[in-house]
Amino acid sequence: MTREVSVELQNVIKKYGQDKVVDQVSFSVEKGEVFVLIGPSGCGKTTTLKMINQLIPHTSGNILVNGTDVTKLDVVELRRSIGYVIQYIGLLPHLTIQENIAFVLKLTRHPKKNQKERAEELIEIVGLELNHLKRYPRELSGGQQQRVGVARALAANPDILLMDEPFGAVDPLTREQLQNELLRLQESIQKTIVFVTHDMQEAFKIGSRIGILREGKLVCLGSPMEIVKSEDEFVKNFIGQGALFEVFDTIPVSKILEKNVPLVHDNEKVDLTAEKLNDWENVFVVDSDGNCQGYIPLSSLEKDGSFQKDKINPLPKATFSDTSVKLAVEEMLWGGRTWLPVVDGHSSFKGIVQFRSCARLLDLEGR
């Protein structure tokens, strides 16, 4: 099945005089994915982004938005159909938050009532309160302004969002919060997002695919895991040491959760002939309600598979299924363990995560 392509660049070149700032760049962004463009400053990532909504016209090559060549579209209409988010200073200081959010609707002459309703709807979606609408941008913190920036881009309900280092000017804590919120928001709105950043951690965190640019050329393109495994010297240097951990930070343990662990009811014997036991050191004891009581090492079992209740070890502190692999590994290292039990939001036992499956993650293709 081929997925729908929202934005496509074909051999795009941008020249300023004789300098090629973007050189033969081709990629396609699928509908609903977060595509991150990253690279050192001056690599052409922002230029590439701005060519999509033609803030910067390209010199040659084709840029297709929803299958149509952008040069064949009216540039104002094109921009109105694409959400555009920049650093928070992009809010218009002479307009209230409500007017800022509804700016695109104002440009397209929507009735005042619609503008107000849409602003009220969006301010809550981005996690601010209704009373912020009457304020001016300068009265809000950087993080709040950035949220308004996102709300503003969503006002006309575009399918595509272009984000140019949107979280570059806020402090690290706020940035992380905004990234989490963007991911949460993206789950419900499912926009196609092209995101420019210079922060590799951010790229790994929010990107479903990442394109690395260097001197105008696309040198690497793939999922975070593919990027980490790249053999290219420049890419290796650019993403730096410890990048693998950053990727692990973005993968939930549910990805490598082992659900099929050997279980035994607390009043039964372990079936020692079961083939399943071969790979395991422990058996997990559950009560009649399915709650896990603890585990017994195979070595502590009697010859016939029965066991005494006092041999049951309590489970170590469990991790949640949406915790990142990085945190789980840390937890294992701190506790000196090779595995952790995993519970879901209601603290019921889902299975375990093992150190060796973390190690195998690298072999998994993509996310």
Binding site: K50, N53, L55, V76, E77, L78, R79, R80, S81, Y84, I86, Q87, I89, G90, L91, L92, P93, H94, F103, V104, K106, L107, T108, R138, R152, A153, L162
Partner: protein, 217 residues
């Protein structure tokens, strides 16, 4: 000294009708000249903010006009247009143009490029960009230019009497000619007090404007 002031006061009380007439002439002259200054200066300032070549040319020539003493300018205008309020108006407009054009141009060019770009990125066309983003954001600077022109023209309009356009200068001139110190002083005080009041008033409005539009707190 007290004699002088009381004679000025006596003159003022006796000739309230005349005082009112000259004040009205003066204010009308200033209002009209400021009106034309804004009508010509603001669009011109915005226009030259787009092209650097034109900017140097226009600002250069307006600065030269600005340095001509007002009496010389009157001498230049009388043979062409004659006397009366029209040449006075033209002279005042010429003086007011420099601050208005310069501030309009500076105000527009000072609008942060990122703001313009974000408005463009959201799909503002050129007109919307100008009227919904650039002019509102440049407004405090443009207004400061208008303020300068207004206050300057108010005091310059005292010279309008030399070209037969009346105004408060009439009282002063007549007082000097007739050695009527009470009359002369009444005129001077009136000019000084009204100018200070006007300056205060526009200053207050200006403060409000700056606060309303300022980017920082």
């Amino acid at each position: 000294m007290i004699d002088l002031i009381s004679s000025a006061w006596a003159y003022f009380m006796n000739r309230q009708d005349l005082m009112f007439i000259v004040l009205r002439e003066h204010v009308m002259l200033v209002l009209w000249s400021t009106f034309f200054t804004v009508i010509i200066g603001v669009p011109l300032g915005i226009a030259i903010s787009r092209t650097e070549k034109l900017r140097d040319l226009v600002l250069g020539s307006v600065s030269i006009l600005y340095t001509i003493p007002i009496l010389a300018l009157f001498g230049f205008l009388i043979p062409i247009i004659g006397i009366g309020s029209t040449p006075a108006l033209i002279a005042l407009v010429i003086y007011g143009l420099l601050p208005v054009i310069r501030n309009s141009c500076v105000g527009i060019t000072q609008v942060h490029p990122l703001l313009k770009e974000s408005a463009k990125g959201m799909g503002a066309n050129n007109m919307q960009l100008l009227f919904k983003v650039e002019i509102p954001l440049a407004f405090p600077v443009i207004f400061a230019g208008i303020r300068t022109a207004l206050v300057m023209n108010f005091s310059l309009a005292t010279y309008a009497v030399f070209i037969g356009a009346g105004g408060m200068g009439r009282i002063i001139m007549q007082g000097i000619r007739t050695f009527n110190t009470g009359m002369m002083l009444a005129g001077i005080l009136m000019v000084v007090i009204t100018t200070v009041l006007l300056e205060r008033l526009v200053g207050y409005v200006d403060n409000r404007v700056q606060k309303r539009y300022s980017l920082s707190d």
